[in-house]
Point group: C2
Chain length 214, copies 2
DNA sequence: GAGTGTTTTAAACGTATGTTTAAGTTTACC
DNA sequence: GGTAAACTTAAACATACGTTTAAAACACTC
C-alpha cells in the first residue's frame, strides 16, 4: 500500500526538477520502481498526480500560515492596533521554508512551489493558487491594515513584488543548477527568511508614516 | 522574404503565452500562415527559433541597459562618489518595459522575459541568461558600490529579490490571465516602474547608513 | 527564355507521450 | 480454502511532437 507514497515521492522530485510537462509518466514510475499503469490506477491521471503531490505538502504549510495570520489579526483586533508588518511577513514566509521538522524532500517541494508562482505551464499554477487562496486573501487584508496610508493599488502591487521575491528566493535556495551562480553567497533558510523579511518590510513600508501616530 | 519575420512574430506570441515546450511548431507555423517545414528551413530547429525570438528584442534592451549603467558608473567614478541606488534601479528596470517607442508585441515579449527568469524549462532560461550576463554583472558591481556597508552576500540576495519582484511585475503586467486577479489595481508601465524602484530601493537600502557620510 | 539557386509545399518518418486494456497476481474476508 | 476485491503487469493504443525528404514553385541572372 506504500505504492502510492512511492509514486508521490518520485513524482515530487521529478516535477520539481524537470517541471510538470517534462517529467514523464515513464520516468516517474521507473524512478518509483513501479509499473507505468499504476499512476492512472491510483490517481486517475497525471494531472491528478500533480494535485496529490502538491496537496500532500501544501496542506500543513497553509494551515500553519492561516493559523499564524489569523492570530495576528485577532490580536490586533483585540488591542485595536494595526498589525505589525514584519510579523505578518514572517508568518507568511516562514512556513514555506518548512514546517519545522525539516523533512526529507522539502527542498524539492520548495522548488516546485517556487516554480509554480511563475510557471509557464498553468496546470501547476492553477492548483497552487487554489490551495493558497484563503491564506493569500487574509494576507492581503492584513497588509492593508498594516499599511493604512497606502492605496489599495499600492498594497496590491507591493504584495506582488513580495511574492516574486519569495518565489525567486525559494527557487534559488532549493534548486540545483544555481550552485555556480550562488558561489560564495550560500545562505541557510533562517538567514534567507531574515533577509527577505527585512527586504520586503522596508520595501512595503516605504512612504508610510512610521512610528506611532495612528 | 518576410516569412522569417512572420514566423518570429507568431513564435514570440506563442512562446510567451504557452511556454516554449507547449508552443508547438504546428501551432506556430499555422499562426504565421506558413508551411510547417519553414521553421527548420529558415532557423534550423525549434530551439534556434527561440534563440532568434529572444535575440531580436533583447539586444536593444540590453544595449540600453548597459549604456545607462555604464554611464552611471563612469559618472560616479569621475566624481568619486557612490552611485545612486534609485538611479541604478531605474536604469536596470526601465528598459525591460520597452525601449521607448512602445512597439507592438512588446507585451508578449515582456511576458516571455518575465517567465524566463524562473522558467521551468531551462531552454529559455539559458538563452536569456547568456544574453543578460554582461548587464547583470555590471548591475551587481554597481549595487555593491552603492551599498558599501552591506556584505557581498546581502547584496547578492537583495539583487535576487529584485529580480524576482521584477519578473513577477512584468508577468502580471503583460500576461493575460491575471486580469481577474488585478481587477481594480491595474497600473500603467510608468506607475509600475515607479513602484518597483521605490519598493526595491527601500528594500535594498535597508540597514544601510543613509545620507551623507562616506 | 533556359537554367540555376532559393524558397515553399505535402507527405512521411521516427520517437515520445498519457492512457487504456485484458490478463495476471496478490490480498483479505467469510 | 474458496471467492471476491484490490492490485499489478505487459502490451497495445491513439495521438502529438520535431524533423526530414523529395518534389514543386518561384526568383533571378545570363
Amino acid at each position: 500500500m506504500d505504492t502510492k507514497e512511492e509514486i508521490l515521492n518520485a513524482a515530487e522530485v521529478l516535477f520539481a526538477r524537470a517541471g510538470y510537462h517534462a517529467a514523464s509518466m515513464r520516468a516517474i514510475t521507473e524512478s518509483a520502481g513501479v509499473n507505468l499503469a499504476l499512476v492512472n490506477y491510483h490517481f486517475g491521471s497525471k494531472e491528478a498526480l500533480l494535485e496529490a503531490v502538491i496537496a500532500r505538502r501544501l496542506r500543513p504549510v497553509n494551515e500553519l500560515r492561516l493559523r499564524r495570520l489569523q492570530e495576528i489579526r485577532s490580536r490586533a483586533g483585540e488591542r485595536n492596533i494595526s498589525p505589525d508588518l514584519p510579523e505578518i511577513l514572517r508568518a507568511y514566509i516562514e512556513p514555506v521554508f518548512g514546517t519545522g521538522e525539516s523533512e526529507r524532500g522539502w527542498a524539492d517541494f520548495a522548488n516546485l512551489i517556487g516554480r509554480a508562482f511563475t510557471e509557464t505551464d498553468e496546470t501547476a499554477q492553477k492548483i497552487l493558487l487554489r490551495h493558497m487562496k484563503p491564506a493569500n486573501q487574509l494576507m492581503l487584508e492584513l497588509l492593508g491594515a498594516a499599511l493604512p496610508d497606502l492605496s489599495g493599488q499600492e498594497v496590491f502591487w507591493r504584495y506582488q513584488f513580495l511574492i516574486g521575491a519569495l518565489g525567486r528566493a525559494i527557487r534559488m535556495n532549493s534548486s540545483p543548477g544555481y550552485e555556480r551562480l550562488k558561489k560564495n553567497f550560500e545562505a541557510d533558510s533562517e538567514t534567507l527568511i531574515r533577509m527577505l523579511v527585512s527586504f520586503a518590510g522596508a520595501g512595503m513600508g516605504s512612504g508610510e508614516r512610521r512610528e506611532g501616530l495612528r
